[in-house]
Each structure stands twice: as structure tokens, then as C-alpha cells.
Symmetry: C2
């Protein structure tokens, strides 16, 4: 469901770069480089899906080190600011993140029945957004763009219209 990932040789290099970038953010802010924070970074960047804070807690502990949710919550903004992760699936009730470092930006097409998430990347949108920003005198720093619908599979299963 997601764009190709760095699973092999490149993966380690990406992880190192990400960690480097993370340390820089920490230094800039006079914050400490700790095992726990690095473990959180590794856990987050190892995920290929949309994850929640609880998921990271479990991943870190599965990795040997225990971490409290409070600590992960405190670390999340740092990872976001360092460009390692970003919010995903904003329109739903729950808060999800996804690894973004070293990956191309994309948006999501979400099936409201089976919750399948398809990533898409469509430059035309970005161009229009830039046009709009100029028109309203905004300097763009980010965006959320989610398309909600019913995927082909679900339509075939339960009928051809949107009625439930």
C-alpha cells in the first residue's frame, strides 16, 4: 500500500542521516541525546505504516528498552520538527503518524468501508496550492489532503452505490 521503502542496504544510511538530523535539532535546542530518544526514532522510522503513540511504545519495548507513553508523547514534536515523521489520517478520530524522512511526500485516499489507505502523489495539486497561496498572500508551510471514498473492492462486495 505504501511507496517503495528502504529495506535493504539503503535503509541503514537513511537511518543514520535521520538520526543525525534529529541530533541537530536536539543540539539547537540544548536538549540531550538519550538512548530513549534514539530508540523512539529508530522505532518510528522502522514503521512502514500509519502508527499511533501506543504502537511506538510497544515497538521500543519489543526492542529491549522500556519507555513510558509520557516520554513518547514528549518526543513526538521533536521528531516532527526534525522532519522524521508527520501526521497522517488527520480527518479520522484517532491520531496517526507516519515516517517521512527520506521518503517522498504523498497524500492519502482512504476507503471509508475497509479503511484501506492508498498513497498518491500528484504534482498538479502542489501547483494549484502554490497558485492559491499567492492569491491569498500566504507562505505555505504544509497541507493536509485526504480523499475519502469507497474502494473498488468494497463497491463490488456490497453493491454499486454508497448506501449502507
Amino acid at each position: 500500500m505504501r511507496t517503495p521503502r528502504n529495506k535493504g542496504a539503503g535503509a541503514e544510511a537513511v537511518m543514520n542521516d535521520a538520526m543525525q538530523q534529529f541530533r541537530e535539532i536536539l543540539h539547537e535546542r540544548s536538549l540531550r541525546v538519550t538512548n530513549v530518544r534514539e530508540a523512539i526514532v529508530r522505532a518510528a522510522l522502522s514503521r512502514d505504516d500509519h502508527f499511533r503513540v501506543e504502537g511506538l511504545v510497544e515497538d521500543v519495548s519489543r526492542d529491549g528498552l522500556e519507555v513510558s507513553v509520557a516520554t513518547v508523547y514528549r518526543a513526538i514534536p521533536l521528531l516532527v520538527d526534525a522532519g522524521l515523521i508527520e501526521p497522517a489520517e488527520v480527518s479520522g478520530e484517532k491520531r496517526f503518524y507516519e515516517a517521512s524522512f527520506g521518503r517522498e511526500h504523498h497524500d492519502h485516499l482512504i476507503c471509508q468501508r475497509c479503511h484501506t489507505v492508498v498513497e498518491f502523489q500528484f504534482d498538479a495539486f502542489a501547483m494549484l496550492e502554490r497558485e492559491l497561496a499567492v492569491k491569498y498572500d500566504f507562505e505555505l508551510t504544509g497541507h493536509f489532503h485526504e480523499l475519502i471514498g469507497v474502494c473498488g473492492n468494497c463497491r463490488r462486495k456490497k453493491g454499486a452505490n454508497g448506501v449502507h
Copy 2:
């Protein structure tokens, strides 16, 4: 900041149509038409801004009738399904809604410094979205599109770049 609203003569007609649509949803589901639900609908459609559940509770009570938050929470999905309101500003931590019945669909451009919200409506986006839906075999039912940036005012106040 928002598109022109029905404040005068048309407002009442819109409210009636909305209420009609709401009653239909209730009937379809064998749910009851109650004073409380109608008061919630009136409160929601009277708002021209992005509101929260708590705000509706206050509006309804200001209108003479008391209602508990639980009841409003229970009513929200009905209003959404009836097409009277829709989620707005999902990107922040808090959940906001806005009246949508009888109003043109629009998306938001939000200033991350002063939180000004500018509405925009740009048909070109919709066309691209339809194209994408076809490509991925989705039947679109909705979308969420929020542009984040820094407005001209804020840029002039605190410098020309995005650094804070």
C-alpha cells in the same frame, strides 16, 4: 472570512429545508423527532463559524432549552449524515464543525501564527480529485483539504521568513 451567508429572507427557508432533510434522516432510521434535536439543528445552522460541541450546548441553552453534552455528541453524527454540518479544521488537536447545508463547499487556508482561517473554493482541485479517484478505482464521497502557512500580515509583523 466566510462566504456570504443567508442572514435575511432566505435564511428561514434554508433552515426549513435543512430541518426537513434532518427529519427524513430520522424517519429513515426510525428515530424520533424531538425538540432537543431540532434545537441542536437550529443552533448548528445558525453558526457562521467553526464551532465545537460545547459551543452548541451553550447556544441551545441560550435559546431557552437545556441540553446535555452527551445528547449533543449523540446528535452530531445525525447532523453530519443529514448533510447539515461537516468537520472542519481537523488538523489541530481539537474537533471543529461547521454548517454546510445550503452553502457552497470550500476548503481552508490557515495561518499557523494568528490562526486566521481563509476559505477558498477552487474547482480545479475537484477535477483533479475526480481524475485520481478514477485512476485508483475509488468512488469519492468526500475530502479534507487544509493548507497551512503564514499569512501576509504575520510575515510583515515578525519578519519575512518562516523562522520563529
